[in-house]
Point group: C2
């Protein structure tokens, strides 16, 4: 794409980013997306340091295109992850869940492009001030961890665009799985889109087949944003959620909710395929996804629909 700041910044052909997702986005998915002309991303949040090293090694072998690592800044072994990112010369890091001021300068000094994920204009300005090269503005629709203010992608994107004053570009995320949604985001001022759930349900995603099928069979109203008192997360409603809902109804506090959540719930759900007891992190747009496709087909179909929608637009006015 000509004149697209995200494509220039990241050295990619199409402004489509695959979100870093726990238990979904290892080297297979990341390299497939990058080979298709988008930006693939390894989700380091669910990986032990040695697991990330293996994925980096395999991703390098599988593609010579740029790819990224998603690094939650609250990750306990973050220093080991950072050493691996530098050793394997990862060109782009997407940081999230933490203060961008803590690591941006360090990465930038080492020639690494830094993109920070935000859910408000306030944090977008902080990311820009910290020296980030771009931001992901992620709305209430998004799967997994989410902002507390519940600002939707439609409302959030134009406000963050305004806050950035044209200085750095914006990637829209949350509720996007198609080319028409990508076109809508460009109308709002985004220069790229990040898709999570659409890529979670691809052939190359490392999620369990039960989880992928749950996405393709889902209908409107199947997801919920919950656990706001702990860390807000969007997931499928299931038996585990019913237990949380019951706890809320009796006025349970954050400690009680944390105890119900326990540990390893997202692995149990997304990776091991336990659809009832697992924490099935997923976006609200799940209900629009009807088939498991290859990552390359997702990139190709999204771009085709994006172009077709905008080509038709002259007839609208």
């Amino acid at each position: 794409m000509n004149n697209n700041r995200i494509c220039s910044l990241l050295g990619i052909e199409f402004p489509i980013i695959q979100a870093g997702m726990v238990w979904c986005s290892g080297w297979e998915l990341a390299s497939a997306v990058s080979n298709a002309g988008g930006l693939g991303m390894i989700g380091a949040g669910s990986m032990y340091p040695e697991v990330l090293r293996t994925h980096l090694q395999k991703c390098k072998q599988a593609t010579d295109k740029p790819f990224a690592v998603n690094l939650p800044l609250l990750y306990p072994n973050i220093d080991e992850h950072i050493r691996s990112i530098i050793e394997f010369k990862v060109p782009v890091v997407f940081t999230s869940a933490g203060n961008p001021a803590s690591h941006t300068a360090f990465f930038k000094e080492r020639g690494i492009t830094v993109v920070h994920v935000v859910s408000s204009s306030k944090f977008a300005r902080k990311a820009m001030d910290a020296g980030c090269d771009a931001v992901v503005a992620e709305g209430f629709e998004a799967g997994g961890h989410n902002g507390r203010e519940e600002t939707t992608t439609l409302v959030l994107v134009p406000q963050v665009v305004e806050a950035l004053e044209g200085k750095i570009p914006l990637i829209a995320a949350g509720g996007i799985a198609t080319g028409r949604a990508m076109a809508a985001m460009f109308c709002l001022g985004a220069e790229a889109v990040q898709m999570g759930t659409r890529f979670a349900a691809t052939v190359e995603s490392s999620a369990h087949i039960h989880y992928k099928q749950r996405i393709t069979e889902s209908v409107e109203g199947d997801t919920v944003l919950t656990l706001k008192e702990v860390t807000p997360v969007r997931m499928f409603k299931n038996a585990f959620y019913a237990e949380l809902a019951e706890a809320y109804a009796r006025g349970a506090n954050a400690d009680e909710l944390r105890e119900i959540l326990g540990r390893g719930r997202s692995k149990k759900g997304v990776f091991e395929g336990d659809l009832e007891q697992g924490e099935l992190e997923v976006g609200q747009v799940s209900s629009a996804i009807k088939s498991i496709e290859t990552a390359a087909d997702v990139v190709k179909n999204t771009m085709e629909e994006f172009r077709a929608v905008l080509q038709r637009s002259a007839a609208w006015y």
Copy 2:
């Protein structure tokens, strides 16, 4: 606009609908929007039967363009409202909050166009089956009463478009206050937009000036969707909301919440300007609205931005 099914259906120049809003949208606002080429709407939900008659009379005197009445189907004195709608030959009725099967045929037999407001594909199909001429698909962002499933406008609109199979057109609502958001909705398949909060903060809105100023001064995160156990409603956070939040924290049931809500809260807030004890129904897009404008300027500026955004779009691919 050429080939726009909503413009043809409603006999209007621009596919911009002003939402019916309690305590905001009387004859002054409705006639101003219709005179500017959009569709103005009288919100009958907060009016006694004789008040609606007065507004219909004045609206007829103030414009010879089509206008609509918004009729919540659960309104207690609905038969009196319906008699007035027929007597004053109101050309369009927007029904909401109830089963479209109950009144659509009655209105259609009398030559009245019927549009029903929905928050899911399921209810969109029901509205179509009931004979409605179009639907409003209203997302989680919208002010006032809202759907229980929390589906956002970005996710909802394409799904409802698909459910309607091209048979009747869709008006997108919730989170829309600008021409760029209107362009985004057209990319998603909408053929018109409905705006509430943007018109609530116009010169001709009958809301209290305190409420209008509260909109123009608001920032992201100021609104919340609450009272899901009673009737879900999006409103500004204030002292009244703090009382609700406290009740939720101690596990209050629906009856206790209903008691806190009491009666007349939205009048107290929106019409009388009590910003702390009133129920300030408002949309999430409030934070994007920076000034009180005339209704005619809103229509004109929205159309200009809509066209400008789409004219630029060829450069995006």
